[in-house]
């Protein structure tokens, strides 16, 4: 984590993912007077996830704005305000609610600059919460990143750690393009080192979380931690796994991925989204294309099975990808 600006003489500060998000937003708003935060219950209630708590107090009701339950309106607010000089930070509570505003996202936000021949600039950041694991059922648990990554004009990042959550939010807010920051609800309490003050995590740069020799595990968001656990367990089977946290899905750091696979000769991709037609397909396709001669085994993919997210904990647990399944899939593919 070269980006950290820790003083040598002080113990690194630990912070939960949820608080790192708050700090990221706060830093972005402190440095940029044209930035505001708008979304459902972000002001008075501090968001249903708690990550905007205190912002109303610091920035006031002009800059931290509760909206009606109107996702098209909210997203349009972001587009129109960004196109006319503001730097909106839009909170879309649950990623599942993209369904309500995909027109504003896909047809307006992502395309405006291009359609206008470059005569628009849209510095808008969208925060939204993805992932299952809380028995919130099929409409509050999805990971729909592939809807977004398929859209030229958007950037899409997905922090796995508190450090990255803060740094990527700051980078997103400083970016003059629309950036989606995909947060993960099961990670909210996750603790990690988070420096004070503003710092960037570069958008478009993957992070090698762990070096290894004969397998590359590629993950993002919470699945990074499952991949790290899986890497531990795989040692037992003689597999020394490298773990890459993509951090940014679009733009994608293909170089880091390919370099790793050329070294390890094997790759397994992990995401929480439904496996079929998910972002892992793009990753596997690129790896087999760009490192074909280096591969000793097919590129594996671990993702959710082909069903909506179920409610019952017994079903949800067997639905969600985890370290155990990563290990099993790796062993199957590698025949160990």
């Amino acid at each position: 984590m070269a980006e950290a600006q820790l003083k040598d003489d002080q113990a690194p500060r630990k912070l939960a993912y949820v608080n790192a998000i708050t700090e990221g937003i706060a830093e972005a708003m402190r440095e940029e007077s044209q930035a505001f935060l708008a979304g459902e219950d972000v002001a008075g209630a501090g968001s249903v996830f708690g990550y905007t708590g205190g912002l109303l107090e610091e920035f006031g009701a002009d800059r931290v704005i509760d909206t009606p339950i109107s996702e098209k309106g909210i997203m349009g607010l972001g587009v129109g305000a960004a196109a006319t000089g503001c730097r909106p930070i839009i909170d879309l509570m649950f990623m599942d609610f993209l369904g309500e505003c995909m027109d504003e996202v896909a047809n307006q936000m992502a395309k405006m600059r291009y359609m206008f021949g470059g005569h628009a600039r849209l510095p808008v950041t969208v925060l939204t919460m993805s992932g299952a694991g809380m028995s919130l059922a099929a409409q509050h648990s999805q990971s729909l990143e592939v809807w977004l990554t398929h859209l030229p004009g958007l950037k899409v990042v997905a922090p796995a750690t508190p450090y990255d959550a803060k740094g990527l939010i700051i980078s997103a807010c400083r970016d003059d393009n629309p950036v989606f920051v995909l947060l993960n609800k099961l990670s909210l309490a996750l603790q990690g080192e988070v420096p004070e003050g503003a710092y960037e995590v570069p958008i478009g740069k993957a992070n090698v979380m762990r070096e290894g020799k004969n397998l590359t595990l590629i993950a993002y968001s919470r699945m990074v931690h499952e991949a790290m656990q899986a890497a531990d367990q795989l040692k037992e089977f003689g597999i020394d796994a490298e773990v890459i946290d993509l951090r940014s899905l679009s733009p994608l750091d293909t170089d880091t991925i390919i370099e790793s696979v050329k070294k390890t000769h094997r790759a397994v991709i992990v995401h929480e989204a439904v496996r079929f037609s998910g972002f892992g397909g793009e990753l596997a396709a690129q790896i087999q294309e760009l490192a074909f001669d280096y591969l000793d085994a097919p590129v594996g993919r671990v993702g959710a099975p082909f069903s909506p997210v179920p409610y019952s904990p017994s079903l949800e647990q067997s639905y969600m990808p985890n370290a155990k399944r990563i290990v099993a899939e790796t062993r199957r593919l590698l025949g160990v």
Binding site: E40, D41, G44, A45, G46, V48, D66, T67, P68, I69, S70, E71, K72, G73, D96, F97, G99, E100, M134, S135, L136, A137, A138, Q139, H140, P305, F306, S307, P308, P310, Y311, S312, P313, S314, L315, Q317, S318, Y319
Partner: protein
């Protein structure tokens, strides 16, 4: 906000648009009577009541309300004690709306509901065993544990599901109403949704289409004054959601949503209009939730005062109807206690049933994604 002080209500609701034909509507806001809702002006009503509940209907409504209350009280305890997973949005305080509307509906009439859907299921005739089992995520639940609180449904009694998407049920109910007209039935559809949901595009599009096609639809807005933790005057610049009806060309009615009899009467007119092929109605019920947005105590945010909650509790819809029933000699206090006791026992037995039920088999995870032709 001051305490509700309705006093003696002779007429409990009023049209927000009288009607001549599909394409012309005029006359607005004729003296609605309502509880002391945020910013509501105080005005009296003068529309004569045409649909009066018989004693049997009043008892039926009361039974539905008590069933909801007890179901929810126990569900709230289960959630607060960590016995059930996920998020429960409880209906306590709003019982008069579900009961007053549902008393007009048959199993063949369809409803759609919201994240706050238990009350609608109970009022439509849902059984405690299958409902608690669903909250527990058990195989015996209405959705086999797949849906949980926010998707609880029962197609056999025309309950097209709670819905995790705010406003999500409204276009679906409109589609059900279309189907009823298409199939030339006398059935109706009703959609329940909140004040917050009335700001979603789905409400707008469905309302316009329902009015255009003159569909047998009752749009029941349960205005409890909040969308999550946001007060109504912070999410819309109007006082009465019913004012939106005129913009679609349908009647809009405001009714005291704590008064089950008033709801019954207003809903009765709307349902009659629907069954007679006269099209949809927007029925706004001014109500209040006694619990927090999620669970009972919820996140403990201070978005409303205890005084406000207490003031509304003075007009507890169950207390109101019980007072009326006793006053009119329809039932005794003792019989009421017996009803509560019976239903509480039913709930406790159902909770035990749910607890003892098996979880769904993970091997069946992928079942029911598609209908598989036999």
């Amino acid at each position: 906000m001051a305490a509700p002080a309705i006093g003696s209500m002779t007429f409990r609701y009023a049209f927000r648009g009288s009607f001549t034909d599909t394409h012309d509507c005029f006359g607005y806001a004729r003296h609605p009577v309502r509880p002391d809702h945020p910013k509501s002006p105080e005005i009296g009503g003068d529309k004569p009541v045409t649909i009066q509940a018989t004693d049997a209907v009043l008892l039926d409504i009361h039974e539905r309300m008590v069933r909801i209350r007890i179901f929810e009280e126990e569900a709230g305890k289960l959630m607060e004690n960590g016995k059930v997973p996920g998020a429960l949005h409880l209906y306590v305080g709003q019982e008069a709306v579900a009961a007053g509307v549902m008393a007009h509906l048959e199993d063949s009439d369809h409803i759609t509901s919201t994240h706050r859907g238990h009350g609608h299921v109970v009022a439509k005739g849902g059984q405690f065993n299958e409902m608690y089992a669903e909250l527990y995520g058990k195989a015996a639940g209405y959705c086999k544990g797949r849906g949980g609180s926010m998707h609880i449904c029962n197609m056999e009694i025309g309950m097209l599901g709670a819905n995790g998407i705010v406003g999500g049920g409204i276009p679906i109910a409109m589609g059900a109403a279309f189907s009823k007209k298409f199939r030339k039935t006398k059935e109706v559809a009703a959609s329940f949704f909140g004040d917050g949901a009335s700001n979603e595009g789905s409400f707008h599009e469905a309302a316009n289409m329902a009015a255009l096609y003159k569909l047998p639809l009752i749009l029941v807005c349960e205005n409890n004054g909040f969308g999550e933790y946001t007060r109504q005057d912070n999410h819309q610049a109007i006082v009465d959601v019913a004012d939106r009806a005129a913009g679609y060309g349908m009647p809009g009615v405001v009714v005291d949503g704590m008064d089950a009899i008033a709801v019954y009467e207003a809903a009765g007119e709307a349902v009659a209009r629907a069954r007679n092929g006269e099209g949809p109605t927007l029925l706004e019920c001014k109500t209040y939730r006694f619990y927090d947005h999620v669970g009972v105590r919820g996140m403990g945010l201070s978005y409303r005062t205890d005084e406000e909650v207490d003031a509304w509790k003075q007009r507890d819809p169950i207390k109101l109807i019980e007072e009326k029933l006793i006053e009119q000699g329809i039932i005794t206090k003792r019989k009421i206690s017996a009803i509560h006791k019976r239903i509480r026992e039913e709930a406790m037995a159902a909770i035990k049933f749910a607890e003892d039920s098996p979880l769904p088999d993970p091997d069946g995870l992928l079942e029911d994604v598609y209908y598989v032709q036999a």
